[in-house]
């Protein structure tokens, strides 16, 4: 949809498709990370008994720590993989 209806300001600037692709990948990664955290922390923290509509105090605290830990693990694994600089995919 962004191909149609540009305004005057836009028409004076060139769009570099590589910048758009990079932004798309960044967006994709952030969304994927968010979705995985939602999944994992729901499984770790939320009681399946569904006794009330609100998060309990324990669940809330667990979520906060769970998100922080997931970020931590994400960073640590990223550092580790950068060290190794290896690739493990089928060609």
């Amino acid at each position: 949809m962004s191909f149609f209806g540009g305004n005057g300001m836009q028409s004076q600037q060139a769009i570099n498709p590589q910048n758009i692709a990079m932004a798309e990948q960044e967006l994709e990664m952030v969304t994927d990370l968010f979705n995985r955290i939602v999944d994992s922390c729901y499984t770790k923290c939320i009681s399946k008994e569904y006794a009330q509509n609100d998060l309990t105090q324990g669940e809330s605290v667990c979520i906060d720590r769970c998100v922080a830990k997931f970020f931590d693990v994400n960073t640590k694994v990223g550092e580790k993989m950068q060290q190794m600089g290896q690739q493990n995919m089928p060609k």
Partner: protein, 86 residues
């Protein structure tokens, strides 16, 4: 995410992309919620309409799931901001 390094034309296109993605993410959240609450709450297949007990469970599950997602989103935003300058 900080896209200020891009020019205005690029930012306009990126914003359109973000908007489109938010719509898709909302639909994904919705169908994830439905499946998770169905899996956790629907266990009686002697009837084909949901029972009162199942409906109560689904209501609580849906509320918890949304509040959970919201809380994760808030923490996620904070932590992303903290990491940005690095």
């Amino acid at each position: 995410m900080d896209f200020s390094r891009y020019n205005q034309a690029e930012q306009a296109q990126i914003n359109a992309m973000i908007e489109h993605k938010q719509m898709k993410d909302f639909l994904r959240l919705y169908s994830n919620l439905v499946q998770r609450c169905f899996d956790d709450c629907a266990n009686d297949f002697t009837t084909k309409s949901i029972t009162g007990k199942e409906e109560a469970c689904i209501n609580k599950c849906a509320d918890k799931f949304l509040k959970h997602s919201e809380r994760v989103g808030a923490r996620f935003a904070e932590l992303s901001q903290q990491m940005a300058p690095q």
